[in-house]
């Protein structure tokens, strides 16, 4: 079984996706699914900057183009350096031909208002003034096509929708350039999903290699989720390697100093084998094993080893193998209470917790069986001696307890009160970004990016899903109208403001034709010719306007030749396997989210995707779920403890280390300035399971009176667990570090309270003469 499990490690798929640690809440999962399936997360943005004051924007643009030329399939499928066409004027001219389809009643009313001599004069004088500037006549073809600036509104929509990318850009020579003209953007699309660790690594290596070809005067920052995937995986791997080495070395030291018995090696082998088997069984049952779960391996080793140590110590004591029977019940209940703490995770809505529970329970049960049924058999067959006498750690003497007992209990109560006060100061942090263990250079590059390209952050999105594009576009128009009635229209970027559905465009085109009657056209021509004379323009200077007035464009004509429009449609309309998603962007701020979440509830196929909303939903889910799970864990542990001890007072005594560990582990968080988060809560529940064992064993020892080395066993159990948990304090990844801190403080305080507080409390609860008992 062990060999098969070891071999299976080579083909087991491991994952580092943090999403498995998120609740199955519909809002959260829908947002995560959307971000996964849409192409937003599979983009890499390269921010290029000039490093020398002498270097020009021209050089920068050349560097962008050269870099874009060198990048290509299979890792890069699309490259965007700016506006898609090299001929912006031609693009705009082409777009203006669609204006009749895009103008509704409101816009036509505004056109009507311009039918005065003053308005036409003012417009033509504007064209005249433009000609006073060097290069002012470059825009003349557009002015001739649209002397009234009718299309300006549509062009502003293009500009606003382009800016909705979340970057503060200006367009220079068709490239995305920063306002200081010293930085340029290159946006890349890749088929590598963020969750693909190996693919992300290949992608980054390819990009970094290509970036080496940049001139010395140009530097580059890579901004991408892939960088986080790779760096998180690297940090996690490094942490696992380090913690494994540290834990192994410490275990070896404990073995060398504490046991000096070859057969004791079996105790250490049992949890290692159990981990191997647990990984394989988990992979068999759930398909994939998360690095987070494996990261808990060192801790699980500490938990599972306890039963072996207890059996080993009692077998080495007077009475030998027969002692196993005496401690069997406490070991079984100890294992069951710990398993029950993990079992509570099955009630969680987070898939990662299910995996953790499965992994832990398999490991614990395997260790329990080995400790009770295989270990005694192996220990009996050989000779050996524990180097530490079983009474080296024993209950404090009666005289000591008489003198110091009340003092210790008083100090413990004081500590609990102080800890309770600190516990009230704990901040719960549900922001998912705290689980990001990316190193400084990745975060610094992102900070530089924010400084150069604006700090508005990623916008939130309102998403409409449907099978038929025209139907979704139609709904999107209604959603847009409702949204702009609630929030600032300039901040709600929707394709509806630029490109409505076919039905609306047809209605607009008909309205346009009705508007431009021959009489009205003649009247306008007359006005225009008069103004032309006043400004020195030829009478036919603006004839192109009339040439394009009536024909417009066919409704069914898809303007795929207009790169600007296609570029925007790519961003606002996403095709997926279920049909189409039409996306609108708005600032990820509470006021917008609140109002627009209300608007989208009126559409069965619409939802909001926002980082803030995601955090809020996560916080809501966790704040409801975690106390429930904690209650279930505490109740199950209490019931099992009561089942063993069959005495309410003793049960309360056995739970004293549990209370201590919770108050100390979570009370220390505000003292260290750290927030409480979900992984810490999970670790807290593990602590509850473990310290309840110590309580049960110590109460058992107080009742039993026999010197079979239970105090020593509990001490060794705590040490081995602390080795596993303490090694996590050297982890760089915030999740592993948080878990390590909670476990270390919780186990240490739980152990000390079990050893020092339970005996005097036992004396207080069970006066002399009443402590004799029957097994």
């Amino acid at each position: 079984m062990t060999v098969v499990s070891a071999i299976s490690l080579t083909w087991i798929p491991f994952e580092s996706d943090i999403a498995i640690m998120l609740p199955e809440d519909e809002t959260i999962q829908r947002s995560i699914r959307f971000l996964r399936e849409s192409n937003f997360s599979d983009k890499v943005v390269v921010s290029l900057g000039l490093t020398s004051d002498d270097a020009s924007t021209q050089e920068l643009i050349r560097a962008v183009d050269s870099l874009a030329d060198r990048l290509g399939p299979p890792l890069i499928t699309k490259k965007i350096t700016g506006l898609p066409s090299s001929d912006v004027m031609e693009e705009i001219r082409g777009f203006l031909l669609y204006v009749p389809q895009l103008f509704g009643e409101e816009q036509l009313a505004r056109v009507q208002q311009q039918f005065t001599k003053e308005a036409v004069d003012a417009r033509l004088k504007g064209v005249y003034r433009q000609l006073l500037l060097p290069g002012g006549n470059f825009a003349l073809p557009l002015s001739r096509l649209d002397p009234l600036g009718i299309g300006t509104e549509a062009l502003r929509s293009i500009e606003r929708l382009s800016a909705a990318q979340g970057y503060d850009v200006i367009i220079e020579q068709n490239h995305f350039v920063s306002r200081d003209r010293r930085h340029a953007l290159l946006i890349l699309q890749t088929p590598i999903p963020l969750t693909d660790g190996m693919g992300s690594k290949r992608l980054l290596a390819y990009l970094n290699e290509t970036l080496k070809g940049l001139p010395e005067s140009v530097s580059a920052d890579l901004i991408s989720g892939h960088a986080h995937t790779v760096s998180n995986e690297e940090v996690m791997r490094r942490d696992i390697r380090l913690t494994t080495i540290l834990a192994s070395a410490a275990f070896f030291l404990v073995f060398l100093l504490g046991f000096r018995d070859v057969r004791a090696g079996i105790i250490f082998l049992i949890p290692l084998i159990s981990i191997l088997i647990s990984i394989s069984l988990c992979a068999l049952i759930v398909g994939k094993v998360s690095y987070f779960i494996v990261g808990m391996g060192g801790v699980i080793t500490g938990i599972s080893i306890d039963y072996g140590i207890l059996v080993y110590i009692t077998v080495r004591a007077e009475g030998g193998v027969n002692n196993v029977v005496k401690v069997a019940r406490s070991v079984i209940v100890g294992a069951l209470t710990t398993a029950s703490a993990f079992a509570a995770f099955f009630l969680s809505s987070v898939r990662g917790y299910h995996d953790l529970a499965l992994f832990s329970i398999i490991s614990i049960l395997f260790c329990l069986c080995c400790s009770l049924f295989i270990l005694p058999f192996l220990l009996r067959s050989g000779q050996g001696e524990c180097s530490v006498p079983s009474d080296v750690v024993s209950l404090p003497s009666k005289s000591f307890r008489r003198v110091w007992g009340r003092f210790i209990v008083g100090a413990w109560i004081l500590l609990m009160l102080l800890g309770g006060v600190e516990l009230g100061q704990v901040n719960f942090n549900s922001d998912v970004s705290q689980y990001d263990g990316s190193p400084g250079e990745v975060l610094q590059a992102e900070e530089r990016f924010q400084q150069v390209w604006g700090s508005r952050g990623q916008p939130a999105m309102a998403v409409l899903q449907g099978e038929n594009l025209e139907e979704v576009l139609d709904q999107n128009e209604r959603l847009h109208a409702e949204a702009v009635s609630q929030v600032d229209s300039k901040e709600f970027a929707s394709i509806a403001s630029l490109w409505p559905s076919k039905a609306t465009r047809r209605a607009n085109a008909d309205r346009w034709k009705q508007f431009w009657t021959p009489e009205k056209t003649a009247q306008f021509r007359e006005l225009l010719v008069d103004s032309c004379r006043a400004c020195g323009f030829k009478p036919d200077a603006f004839e192109p306007f009339f040439d394009n007035l009536v024909p417009g464009k066919d409704i069914d004509d898809d303007p795929s030749n207009l790169g600007i429009l296609e570029h925007l449609k790519d961003r606002f309309i996403v095709k997926n396997r279920d049909g189409y998603q039409v996306i609108s962007f708005f600032p990820d701020e509470d006021a917008y989210i609140e109002k627009l979440s209300e608007v989208v509830t009126r559409y069965s196929n619409a939802f909001v995707v926002s980082r803030k909303a995601l955090t809020l939903a996560l916080s809501r889910s966790v704040s409801f779920e975690m106390p429930l799970l904690a209650c279930i864990a505490v109740i199950s542990i209490s019931c099992l403890t009561l089942l063993l001890l069959r005495n309410l007072r003793l049960t309360l005594l056995a739970l004293a280390p549990v209370l201590t560990s919770i108050i100390v582990a979570f009370g220390v968080m505000p003292v260290l300035g750290l927030p409480l988060n979900v992984p810490c809560l999970i670790a807290g529940m593990v602590v509850v399971g473990l310290t309840s064992d110590y309580g049960i064993f110590m109460v058992y020892q107080c009742r039993q009176k026999e010197k079979i080395g239970i105090s020593l066993a509990v001490t060794l159990c705590a040490i081995t667990t602390l080795i596993g948990a303490g090694s996590l304090l050297f982890a760089r990844h915030p999740v592993l570090f948080g878990i390590g801190l909670t476990l270390t403080t919780g186990i240490l305080s739980g152990y000390l309270s079990a050893l020092l507080v339970i005996p005097p409390l036992y004396d207080l609860f069970q006066p002399a003469g009443k402590d004799s008992h029957t097994q």
Binding site: D54, S56, Q58, E59, R62, S86, D87, V88, M89, E90, K125, R129, Q130, L131, L132, L133, P134, G135, G136, N137, F138, A139, L140, P141, R144, I170, E172, Q173, N174, R179, G536, F537, K538, A541, F542
Partner: protein
Amino acid sequence: MKALMTLEPMRCFRALVATLLFACFCALTCESQEVATEFLRDVTENTNELLLRLEGQMSKIQTLQTDFTQEKRLAIMEGSFISRGCLFLDRPNRFAWHVREPVRFSLVVDGDIVRQWDEDTDKVMELPLSKNPAAQTALVQMKDWFSGAYHSLMGEYEVTILARKPTSIRFIPRNNTPASKVISSVTVFLCGLASDGAQPTPAPADSTAQSLKDNDERYIHQIIIEEKGGDRTEMTFTNTHLNEAIKQDAWDVRPRVQ
């Protein structure tokens, strides 16, 4: 032997002539060494080297103030459209274009802000540079041509040296570049003679200084832009001052022209 006697004086004579010719050549060479070096440089210096040299010289320009005459021949206008005024450039991001005639008009770009005034509306309009494409184009045009960074334009333009003294260069946009959609050619005349052979207008203050400027390749005398549609713009610059402190009021929109 007789034959030998008659041959010897001939040889002596030839040697004498050769020596005299060599001496004359050496003397001439020494006297015109400077001219020869310049001639040699003109012959051997290729376009690349010339542009690099100009770029090196003009990169030292921090400020520029000059009067301009702009003549546009446009398809939509009857006759030539001539405007006169002055321009100021303070690298990297300050630019002012003040028109005196035919109408008073000012445009000042200061960093990311554009301020514009005209006598007709008598209003100052302030906009971000990114929202004013006309100002962006004007700024880019002036910065590109006055920066002298012509070498870096070689990727986008095909560059031809039309003349050496005074230097004139023609830039023709390469196919499929953004400029190629609008511009047919841009010709830049540096110091000295104008396109029609006339001398640039001398500076009224100091003729010696003007003479120096005539030989200084950092000074642009004229720019001619020919567009695809047949429109043509000629900008002639006179009374040019480089790297001199620009008065603060140059960056004010209204007071300057009132």
